[in-house]
């Protein structure tokens, strides 16, 4: 093992001074330490101080590497940084619900539509004060709001222009800084399961699971999962327990589903779309004979309940309490009308291109959730949104999806069994059916394996069939080059970013220059190369290349205050000076009076 060859983010210009080392120094006899102490206290009060949260090595090696790189460069320019590493659920609680950190590094969970409209949920000011997945930056900007709305309403021809303007506005205002887009690697043992007629990554989405065809008769899929959270809580609305919600999409149906980038009817049997100016009306008829896992029929009333409930989970309260997840996707829904047991109309304030995202939310069983809500009534004060137990707590996931929960062992495993009454299993729905040609696997057994190297080894040994979670970049070179292990590698729709809480001082609305100065400390090329073992591409905008205007396209690290991985202190400090800071004689960044 060679220690020095490991790319280390912390070998920057200045190494973090530990308090322990300082304490050793303090034990030595000095004179006049009282006066020095007082001075230190005064100066400390003025030094720029920031908290930076991210997830640990075991959860995401890329994220912690980015955070350490930034920490090291912030320390170098003289900012007092507190690196706060928390396991993913605790991290999300701090960033999305409590919202008490200044900076955070994570992966943004872009939904399956992979459409720039995800920025609406990410940045619209209407979500700024609501704890939850939406707008964790607490960002409010009128121009951005207007452009977010305009791109929704625009015709397809005009939309590209609005998205370009929107990206310009975001790049200027910097509520967050996109860093890189990783490649997702998944493995399938082709002697056990074949990926049947699909361009999407296998097991990365609902379609990705349903298009797996068993090679042998025993079609029990043994999948490896790095994340323990689905084994602890399957609630689709829990914001701290979900990433992209792929397992939720297996347990719950939605009206439509994306397959190879196209929206197709799913729980809906058929639909007609009508665009009238800026609004779209979708008339749907549901598949008949669908049942929830508890045997109750799925009706248009459940669909209507779902959309109303996601918009406001506390209908009895004077203040609306939108669901902590999916609020962005359903925000374009204007009205919903039930015609009969299976027919309904949804009208949206959005053009057709955007409206489809609203059809991908999980359909909840009204009777199940009404019961949960009833258990809450009588409690005088309800806890803040996102923390409400009936809405986000662990729940028996009664959906109507292809799979039902059979068994789980907290932190170890999760077993789903096929819902035999599901239309994708029954089949025979003819042309309209979105179901795959072959019936889905009888059982999905997800076993938690937190170590990517071990996941690769086990797939290679035939100890498991697929990697449900993407394997981390460091383990990719262990994938055996044989025909049995099929290696799917695709650029992720998710991306790594540095987020700012734009409501907290000093990165608040008066801190745009400070936010810019901080983003100039990110050496994206080096991070993509070293942090992800070369398996990520640096990016300048949060949307796929197809949506990025040429003027904003990635063209090297022009913004990085340095060269070839080395920070140039002078350039970096001058950026901070523009934000109203100066370096004191000890090299710390302090506020100008």
């Amino acid at each position: 093992m060679n220690w020095t060859s490991v790319p280390s983010p912390s070998t920057g210009p200045v190494r973090r001074r530990s308090v322990l080392a300082a304490a050793v120094g303090a034990l030595l006899p000095t004179s006049g330490c009282v006066t020095r102490g007082v001075e230190t206290v005064v100066d400390d009060g003025r030094q720029v101080s920031l908290s930076l949260a991210t997830v640990p090595t075991d959860d995401d090696r890329g994220a912690i590497r980015i955070a350490r790189h930034l920490e090291s460069n912030l320390e170098a320019v003289g900012v007092d940084v507190t690196l706060d590493v928390r396991p993913r659920a605790g991290f999300l609680e701090a960033v999305l619900l409590d919202r008490d950190v200044d900076l955070f590094v994570d992966r943004y969970p872009v939904d399956a539509a992979a459409d720039p409209d995800f920025l609406y949920g990410a940045l619209h000011s209407r979500f700024a004060t609501q704890p939850g997945r939406q707008n964790p930056f607490e960002f409010t900007d009128e121009t951005v709001d207007r452009l977010l709305e305009a791109q929704r309403l625009a015709s397809e021809a005009e939309r590209r222009g609005y998205v370009a303007d929107l990206l310009d506005a975001i790049v200027a205002a910097k509520p967050f800084e996109p860093i890189c887009r990783p490649t997702e690697h998944r493995l399938v043992r082709s002697d056990r399961f074949e990926v049947d007629d699909l361009d999407d990554a296998p097991v990365a989405s609902r379609a990705g699971y349903l298009h797996l065809a068993s090679v042998e008769d025993d079609d029990r899929l043994h999948a490896l999962l790095t994340d323990t959270r689905p084994s602890r809580n399957c609630n689709p609305l829990s914001v701290t327990m979900r990433r992209r919600g792929t397992i939720v999409d297996l347990l719950y149906d939605s009206l439509g589903t994306y397959e190879d980038g196209t929206l197709r009817p799913w729980l809906a049997d058929s639909w007609t779309w009508e665009q009238d100016g800026h609004s779209t009306t979708i008339s749907l008829s549901l598949r008949e004979g669908c049942r929830f896992h508890d045997g109750q029929p799925v009706t248009a009333d459940d669909v209507a309940f779902t959309y109303r409930f996601l918009a406001d989970t506390a209908p009895d309260s004077a203040f609306p309490s939108p669901a902590p997840r999916y609020s962005g996707r359903i925000s374009a829904v204007d009205d919903l009308e039930v015609h009969d047991e299976y027919a309904l109309t949804i009208s949206l304030e959005a053009a057709e291109a955007v409206a489809g995202r609203a059809l991908t939310v999980p359909i909840l069983a009204e009777h199940v959730w009404q019961e949960r809500l009833a258990s809450e009534r009588g409690h005088r004060s309800s806890p803040p949104q996102g923390h409400r137990e009936p809405v986000t707590g662990d729940v028996d996931p009664v959906g109507s999806g292809v799979y039902r929960l059979a068994n789980r062992s907290k932190r170890d495993s999760l077993t789903l069994e096929r819902h035999e009454e599901h239309f994708a299993v029954r089949g025979g729905d003819g042309e309209e059916s979105a179901a795959a040609a072959t019936p889905p696997a009888v059982e999905l057994h997800f076993e938690v394996d937190p170590n990517s190297a071990s996941m690769v080894e086990r797939i290679a040994d035939g100890d498991a069939d697929v990697t449900a979670s993407p394997i981390q970049a460091y383990a990719v070179n262990r994938v055996p080059a044989d025909d049995v292990v099929e290696h799917a590698a695709q650029p992720s729709r998710t991306f790594y970013y540095l987020g700012f809480n734009t409501r907290r001082t000093p990165c608040d609305e008066d801190g745009v220059e400070l936010r810019r100065a901080i983003t100039r400390l990110l050496d994206k090329s080096t991070l993509a190369e070293n942090g992800f073992d070369g398996d990520a591409v640096p990016i300048s905008t949060p949307v796929p290349d197809a949506w990025t205007p040429a003027a904003l396209a990635w063209d090297g690290d022009d913004d990085f205050a340095g060269n070839d991985g080395d920070l140039d202190l002078e350039t970096a400090r001058s950026a901070f000076e523009r934000a109203g800071l100066r370096s004191d004689e000890d090299g710390r960044l302090v506020w100008e009076y």
Binding site: M1, V6, S8, S18, V19, T57, P450, A453, R458
Partner: protein
């Protein structure tokens, strides 16, 4: 994969134990043990039950603990890192593949042996006082450790400094160790270091029984010290965890001596 490691641990400890028994305990003690084991067992029975119950609770808590921690725990990784910074990296300055192999073996196999052997050695003494005190001290370590684990949510240095610590590389190269340690403990249970506290507990007992087992004392101290260093060398624990572990060990030994003395058998 997990069973691979388990089998290896059982095999290694299974080889080491008879060797250690032959070397340190001796034939004469084994002969008396054959005659007295019933009465010794009766005397120590209650404390043995206590330890088994504590271990059982620990087992359950591996699954349930994190849920309780989510509700009442305090995130303290940032504080440990703020206080220590990259201090544990001093061990990396002397790192070599041989040392990494040594410390990872000590961390898994040496530790298991170090905890089990004293149980046999003290049971082989006519006076069961050390055996009973050891059982009490183990139980106290696990119980007090568990309370801290519920309250303090902290990740080890390896999880904060991915590329700088040997543990990351050990896990990458031999992922089965990751499975093994995960079965023992959640990654957020680092304060205090139970590897440290239990090893130091054994070392203190070894010192106290230096007259009965003069040759075991230096061996126990060397293994215990190696375990303590391995926790930091591999990046599993902060210095703070280790210091707390040593304090916990001292407290548990003192408490076990106060609670279990020669008068009250059992």
């Amino acid at each position: 994969m997990l069973t691979d490691v388990l089998i290896r641990v059982v095999a290694v400890v299974g080889i080491l134990l008879p060797v250690a028994v032959a070397t340190f305990v001796g034939r004469r003690r084994l002969a008396t043990l054959q005659m007295e084991w019933r009465s010794r067992f009766r005397e120590s029975g209650p404390l043995l039950v206590v330890l088994l119950v504590v271990l059982g609770i620990n087992r359950v808590m591996r699954q349930e603990g994190p849920t309780i921690s989510d509700a009442i725990g305090i995130q303290l990784t940032w504080l440990f890192y703020e206080l220590e910074g990259e201090f544990v990296l001093v061990f990396q300055s002397v790192a070599s593949p041989e040392l990494t192999a040594y410390f990872s073996a000590i961390y898994v196999y040496g530790y298991a042996f170090l905890l089990i052997f004293p149980g046999i050695a003290y049971f082989a003494l006519s006076n069961t006082i050390y055996f009973r005190q050891l059982l009490a001290a183990y139980s106290l370590n696990y119980t007090i450790g568990l309370v801290f684990y519920l309250v303090v949510i902290a990740l080890g240095p390896r999880n904060v400094m991915p590329d700088l610590l040997a543990g990351t590389m050990v896990y990458d190269a031999s992922p089965e160790y990751h499975h093994f340690t995960r079965q023992l403990n959640s990654s957020t249970n680092v304060f205090p270091s139970l590897h440290t506290s239990l090893s130091v507990t054994v070392a203190i007992f070894a010192y106290r029984t230096r007259e009965q087992y003069p040759r075991w004392t230096p061996v126990a101290v060397v293994i215990a010290l190696s375990v303590v260093i391995s926790t930091m060398y591999l990046g599993f624990h902060w210095v703070i965890d280790v210091v707390a572990g040593i304090a916990l060990a001292a407290g548990c030994v003192a408490l076990s001596m106060a609670l279990v003395d020669s008068r009250n058998a059992g």
